[in-house]
Symmetry: D4
Subunit: 227 residues, 8 copies
Amino acid sequence: MSEPDPRTADLGFARVDVDRAARTGDPEVVYGEGKTPDQVVAILRTLHERHPDRAVLATRLSPDALAVVARDLPDAVLDPVARAATLGPIPAPTGTVAVVSAGTSDAPVAAEAALTIRVHGGGVDRIDDVGVAGLHRLLAVRDRLAEADCLVVVAGMEGALPSVVGGLTGVPLVAVPTSVGYGASFGGLSALLGMLNSCAPGVTVVNIDNGYGAGVFAARVARQSAR
Amino acid sequence: MSEPDPRTADLGFARVDVDRAARTGDPEVVYGEGKTPDQVVAILRTLHERHPDRAVLATRLSPDALAVVARDLPDAVLDPVARAATLGPIPAPTGTVAVVSAGTSDAPVAAEAALTIRVHGGGVDRIDDVGVAGLHRLLAVRDRLAEADCLVVVAGMEGALPSVVGGLTGVPLVAVPTSVGYGASFGGLSALLGMLNSCAPGVTVVNIDNGYGAGVFAARVARQSAR
Amino acid sequence: MSEPDPRTADLGFARVDVDRAARTGDPEVVYGEGKTPDQVVAILRTLHERHPDRAVLATRLSPDALAVVARDLPDAVLDPVARAATLGPIPAPTGTVAVVSAGTSDAPVAAEAALTIRVHGGGVDRIDDVGVAGLHRLLAVRDRLAEADCLVVVAGMEGALPSVVGGLTGVPLVAVPTSVGYGASFGGLSALLGMLNSCAPGVTVVNIDNGYGAGVFAARVARQSAR
Amino acid sequence: MSEPDPRTADLGFARVDVDRAARTGDPEVVYGEGKTPDQVVAILRTLHERHPDRAVLATRLSPDALAVVARDLPDAVLDPVARAATLGPIPAPTGTVAVVSAGTSDAPVAAEAALTIRVHGGGVDRIDDVGVAGLHRLLAVRDRLAEADCLVVVAGMEGALPSVVGGLTGVPLVAVPTSVGYGASFGGLSALLGMLNSCAPGVTVVNIDNGYGAGVFAARVARQSAR
Amino acid sequence: MSEPDPRTADLGFARVDVDRAARTGDPEVVYGEGKTPDQVVAILRTLHERHPDRAVLATRLSPDALAVVARDLPDAVLDPVARAATLGPIPAPTGTVAVVSAGTSDAPVAAEAALTIRVHGGGVDRIDDVGVAGLHRLLAVRDRLAEADCLVVVAGMEGALPSVVGGLTGVPLVAVPTSVGYGASFGGLSALLGMLNSCAPGVTVVNIDNGYGAGVFAARVARQSAR
Amino acid sequence: MSEPDPRTADLGFARVDVDRAARTGDPEVVYGEGKTPDQVVAILRTLHERHPDRAVLATRLSPDALAVVARDLPDAVLDPVARAATLGPIPAPTGTVAVVSAGTSDAPVAAEAALTIRVHGGGVDRIDDVGVAGLHRLLAVRDRLAEADCLVVVAGMEGALPSVVGGLTGVPLVAVPTSVGYGASFGGLSALLGMLNSCAPGVTVVNIDNGYGAGVFAARVARQSAR
Amino acid sequence: MSEPDPRTADLGFARVDVDRAARTGDPEVVYGEGKTPDQVVAILRTLHERHPDRAVLATRLSPDALAVVARDLPDAVLDPVARAATLGPIPAPTGTVAVVSAGTSDAPVAAEAALTIRVHGGGVDRIDDVGVAGLHRLLAVRDRLAEADCLVVVAGMEGALPSVVGGLTGVPLVAVPTSVGYGASFGGLSALLGMLNSCAPGVTVVNIDNGYGAGVFAARVARQSAR
Amino acid sequence: MSEPDPRTADLGFARVDVDRAARTGDPEVVYGEGKTPDQVVAILRTLHERHPDRAVLATRLSPDALAVVARDLPDAVLDPVARAATLGPIPAPTGTVAVVSAGTSDAPVAAEAALTIRVHGGGVDRIDDVGVAGLHRLLAVRDRLAEADCLVVVAGMEGALPSVVGGLTGVPLVAVPTSVGYGASFGGLSALLGMLNSCAPGVTVVNIDNGYGAGVFAARVARQSAR
C-alpha cells in the first residue's frame, strides 16, 4: 500500500484533489452529477476548510442538492439558473469575457459559464437572446463584443451564432453547443458539428452543455490578457 | 409478360419515362451519374425527339460526358460549372428565384439549382459569396432577397446561411447543404443537420448537393406565385 | 449597457421578439417546450396585447400548460391533438395546403402543421391515414392533391409517403418525418433519411416532428400562390 | 496438427468448403471480391471438378476477373451486368421468384439476385424500372407479383418500393437495399433503414447490395413452395 | 370531401383498414403502441365484428391495456409474455416454423413471433435458450431445425445465432435482432448489423424487436411450403 | 444588380474578401482545397498587391499547387510539411504559443498551426513526439509548457495528449484532433470525441486536422496576453 | 421433442446452464438485468445447490433485488457499490490483478470487476482516483502496476487512462470504458473509441461498463500466470 | 531548448524511441503507414544498430516499402501476407498462442498477429478458415484451442467467431475485428460491435484490423503463463 498523499483529502467515498491550484492556478470545483447532496456538502466543506481564502465552486447540482447546500452551508451563494453554488470569497474581476447566448433555453449553460468565469477571476458581460434569426439585436451589441478579452458564445439547434459573431470581430471565441433542440438535433450533436465546421476562423469548441469548461478557458485568457 | 407501355421508351439499357410532364408538369431529366457518355447522349436524343418543344436537362455529367454530348449533340447547351447540359428551348421565366450561395466552393451546386430553375420555367437571380462570417455582403442584398418568390440557399461547412437569411425575410426558403468541408463535416452531414435545426421558421431542406431537387421545387413555387 | 430595444418586450425570464411580423409577415409564436405553464401564459398575454388584431400561436404545450392556458386565458382556443393553443382572431384562409398523413400515430404532427397553416393565413385540406401499404386510399384522393397550392406530407417509420405522393403530382411538397416507429427507426432518423433521398424530384424536408416549420413554409407558398 | 479434412480442398491460398451442398442443399459459390482472377479460376475449376453435375457460381467479379474466366474456362457462362459467372449445368426452375427493381442503377444487384436464384434452382420473373414515383408501372404488374412464390424487391435511395409492393400482395418479400444514391443516402444506409422500418408487414431485408443473399433465400422459398 | 370508403371503418380516432385480408390473405392486427387501452378494445371489437370467423391480433400491449382487454373482452385470449392478445378462432396450423431464441431475455420477442405465426395460420416449434456460447444445446436440436419449413431466429447482444443456425441447415431463415444488451449494443443496433452481415447465405433480417414482422413472413412461407 | 463592393476583389471565378483585416485584425488567407494552382496564384497575387506590407497565407496546397506557386511567385516562401506558402513579410512575434504534437504523423497539422501562428503575429515553440505512451518526454518539457501564453496540442488516434498536458499546467489550451489512425478512429472522430470529453478543465477543440483554425485562435490569445 | 438435458436446470422461466464450469473452469453467474428479485433468488439458490463448494455471482442487481437477496438468502454476501452479490465460498486468490480507475464515478464498474476477479480465483489490488489530469497520483503507484499479473483499467469521459498506464509497463492490460460523462460522451462511446485507438500497444477493450467481462478475462490471465 | 534525450534517436524526420524495451520488455516496432520506404529502412537500420541482439518489426508496409526493405536490408525477413518485415534474431517461443481466423480474407490480419507474437517471444499455432457457418471445422480443433495459453480470434463481417470459440473453452481470448465485408459492415464496425457485445464472458477486443495490438497482448499473456 502506498503512503497517504498530502495533496489529496480522503473522504471515504472520494479522494479529493486539494492541490490543483498549485498546479494550474484554478480554484477547486465539485462536479455534482452523480453525487448525493450530502456528498456535495462534505466535499464543499472540506475544500473550503483547506482554502478558506478563495471560492469553491459546485456545478450540476440537482434541486435537492441546491436545497441541502442552502440548509447545511448557510454561507454558500446559490445560482439556481446555473444549477451551481459557491462557498468563499469570489476574486475581483480581471479582464472581461462577453458571454453571448442565442435563446432563452440556453440560459442555464450561459449562467454556468458566467459564474465559472467569475470564480476563476475573470469579469463578465452577459449578452442574451441574440439569435442569428434576428440579426438586429446582435449588430446592436457589436461594440461590446469587440471590447471583450474573450468571447463565450452559447447556442443550441444549428449552432450558427459563433460563425456570425466570429465574422464580426477578432476577439478569441469559445463556442458552447447546447442540447437545446429536438429531432435531428440529436442532443446537441447538430450544434456541436456546426461549431466545429464554422467558416469563421479562430472559433474553438467545448463539449455539449459544458459552460464550465468554456468558463475556465475564457477566464484564463481574460486574466492573462489584462495583466 | 406485360404489354409495351406507351408511356415509356425502351432503349435496351433503360426504360425511359416519357410521360412525366403529363403527370407533374415538369420537363424530362437525365441523371448522368453512373451512365456512360453514350447512354447520356442516347437518352437525351430520345427525350428530345419525343418533346422537341421543350428543353431536356442532363445533370451530374462527368467531363467525358460533357465532351461527348458537345460532340454528338451540337444543339446542346453546356454548363460546365453546373456539370449539366440542356437540349431544346428553355421556357420564358415566370417569377423569380434568388439562388444564394455561401462560398466559391458551393458554385457547382448553386449553378445546378439555377439551371434547373430556368429549365423548369422559373427566373433566377444569382447572389454568390455571401457567407455568414461576412454579414455586410448579405445585408447589402436584403432587398433582392425580399423581392424573390422563392429562395434557394446553398451552403456547406456549418450550413448557417439559411438561418440568417430566413431571419431577414418571410420568402419561402429551400436550403441546400453541400459536401464542402472536411473532418467533422462528414461529407455534408454537418451542414444538413444545421439546416434541419434552423432556428428560423419556414426553412425546408433537400439532400446534400441536391441543387436539382431544390431547383425543381423552387421553380414550381415561383411559377405558381407569379401566375 | 445598451438601450432598451423597442422591438422586444422584456419579461424578466425572456426577451420576447415583438417585431417579427414586420420583418417576415408571420404571426408571433410561443415555443412551449421547456417553459413553465405560467411563462407560456405570460408570453401569450404580452404578445396578444401588442398585436390584438391577429392570432398568437403556442406550440409544444404539455397537458399542464394546456390546462393553465385554458384557465388563465379564457379567450384562448385549444387544440389538444396538436398540443397547441391560439389567442386572437385567425385570418381568413388564402390558398389551400393539403396536409397528408400516413398513419393515426402521425396525427399530432399533422394537426400542428394544419393549425400553423391556418394561423399563418393559409387554408387546409386534411387527408389522413393514407399510408403507402394501402395505395387505394391514396389514389382515391389524387384530385384533392392536385388542386392544392402546397402539400405537407407527414409520415414516420420508413417515410415513403412523400415519394409516392410526389410522383402523383407536381404541386410543391414539404415532407415532415415523425418519430413514430421503434428499433431501427432511431427516433425518426429513418424517416428523415428516406425523405431526403426521395426519388421524386421537388420534395423538401423539415426536422423530425416539425409540423410547425412545415406549416409556416406551406402557408407562405399557399398565400403567395393565391394572391 | 489435425488430419486433412475430406470436406475441404486445400488450394494453398484457401481451404475450399466442398461439402456445403450436403449440409444445406445449396450449390458451391465463389465470392470474387479480394481474390485475384487466377484464384477465381482455380477455385471455380476445383469446385466444378468435384461437382461436375451442378453449376458453380462466382460473384463480385471485376472486369479483369470476368475476362480471365472467359479466357481460361471456355465453358463458363458470363453475366456482365451481374458481375458473375457460372460453370456447369443450371438446374431446371422450380417455382417462381419475381425480381422487382426500382431504377436502372439497381440493375447489377437485381441481376445478381436473378442469376443466384436460377443457380439455386428457382425460376425468375424480372420486373424492372417500377419506382414508387411512377405508380402506374407498378400497378400494371400487380398480377405477376401475386402469382410469384417469393418476391425480391431491389431499391436504392429511400428504399420505399418494398413497402408499396408489400401492401399490394401477401407473397413473402425479401427487400434488397442498394448503394445507389448520394449525400444522405450514406452508401445505402438510408435504403436499408427504410426497408427495416417498412409499414408493410412481412418484409425482410438483407445487407446493402446483397443480391446473392436474397437470391439464395428466395430460391429456397420458391423451391419448397412448388414441391 | 371524398366518399366514405367501404374498405375502412371510421372510429373517430382512427380509420381502420378492414380489407387487408382480401388484399394479402392476412388477418387484421392492432398495433397497441401509443394507443389507449380503450382504443385497443374498440378496434379489436370492430375488427372482430367484421370478421368473426378468424382471429384478430393485438400486439405491443402495455400491462394496463392487457388488463382492460381482459376485463372488457372476456373472449380474448391473453399472452402476457408476448404482450399480446387475440380475439376469435385461431386457424389450424399449416406447415411448421421453428422459433429459435438465444437467451431468456429474448423471450418476449420470440413469443410475439410465435403467436403471430399461429394467428397467421402457421404451426410453431419453440426452441429456447440455445445461445452460441453453449453450442451443445444447439447441436442437440439440429434435426428439429432441419425439419421446419421456415426458421425465425431471435437474438440480442452480438446477434450471432442466425449465422450458426444458418450454417447447419438450408431452411429459409428470418433473423430478429432484439434490444437485449447494454453499452455498445446501442439498443439492438449491434445485433442488427451482425445479422445483416451474416456469413451464412440466405439469412434475412427484420427490424429490432420485430417478432410480429418475422412471424407474418414465416407463416406465409410455412403455409405455402406445406400446401 | 447591386453596386461593386469596394471591400471585395472580383477575380471572375471568385469574389475575394480584401477587408478582413479591418474587421478582425487578421491577415488574408487562401484556402487551397478545391482550387486550381492558377487560381491559388491569382488570389495570392491580388491579396499581396492590396496588402504588400503583411504576409498572405495559402494553406492546403497540393504538391502541384506548391510547385506552381514556387514557379510563378518567386518571392513566396514554401512550407512543404505544412502544405502551405506565404507571400509578404511575416510580422515580428508577440507572445509565445507552444505547439505540441503526439507523433510523427501529426507533423503536417502541427506545422500548419505553427506557420499560421507566425503569420498572425504570434511566436512559436515546437514540441514534437511527446505521446502519452511515453510520459518521460512530456514531463521533460513541463517548464516550456508552463511558460507559453497559449498551447496548441495536436494528436490523432485516441487524442489523449490534451488531457495529460491540461493537467500539468493552467495555460489556455487548444486541442487539434488529427485524422491519423485507422479502423475505429473513423477519420479522426475518435480523437475529436476524446478531446471534447477531456477530464482536464479548460480544453477547447477545433475541427479534425484544422491546424489553421487553432493557429488563428492561439495567435490572438498570445498577442493580447503579451501586449 | 428432445430429451431433458442433464447439463441444464429448468426453472420454468429459464433453463439454467449448470455445466459451464466443466467447459470453461469458471463459476456460475446470474446476470440480474431484466430479472425479478424472485427470479434472481431462485437461480442463485439452484446454482448454489448444484455447486455448494464454490461461489455463485449475481451482477447488475437493482436495489430491490439486493434487498430481496439479503432477506431470502442470509448466507449471501452483498456488494452494494458493485451492485452484486455472492453465495458460497470465494476461492483463495491466485496471482494479482491491479484494478485501476480514473474517477469516483467509475467506482461501480471497478467494484464489479474486482469482485468478479475474486470470485473467479484471482487476487485484487485496487488503485482508485488516478485520472490522467493528475499524473502525480499515477506515477506514485508505478511499482504496483508493474508487479501485477494483469491490469484492469476503468475510465469514462475520454478514456485516456489505459494509454498512459500502458506506456508505463508491459503487463497485459484490459481497458473498461464507462458511461460516465455527458454530451459528446454519447453514453461511453467516446471512452470506448479512445481505448480502441490507444497508442500504447497491447491494450484490449471490453464493452462499456462491462466490469464483469474484464474481471473474468483478467482472473484467467492472473491464474495461469501464477500457476 | 531541452537537452538531447539519450532514450531517443533523432533521425531528422522522426525522434525514435529506443528505450521501450527497458520500460515494457517489448521489442521496437516501426509502423509503416504514412512513411516512405526510405524512412522505414532508416528507422529499421537505426533500431537494429541499437539492439542488434533482438528482432525489430516493421508493419503495414506497402508493396513498395517491402521491395525497398528487401533491396536495402538483405538480412531482413519479409512476410508479404502480413505486409511486414523483421530484422534481427526472433526469440525462442515461450508459451503458445492459437491464432484462429474465420475466412481467407482475414489472412493478412491473422498473419500480422502471428508474426507479432513470434517477435514478442510467444509461440504460435495457426488455425484458419473456421468460420461459424461451418461448425464442423471448428469443433475438430477444440483440443488445440484448449491447450493454448491465449487465443487470438480474427473475424470480419458479423464477427461471431469469438463468441462461439469463447463458449468452447476458458482460455483468455482476444478478438480482432477485420474490415472484411461490404455494405452494412461499415468498414469493420459491425464485427467490432459484435465482438464487444459477445455473450461469451471474458472476450476482449482490439481495434479493427489491429493484428499487431492483439499479438503484443497475447504474447505477453503466453510468456508469463509459461514462465
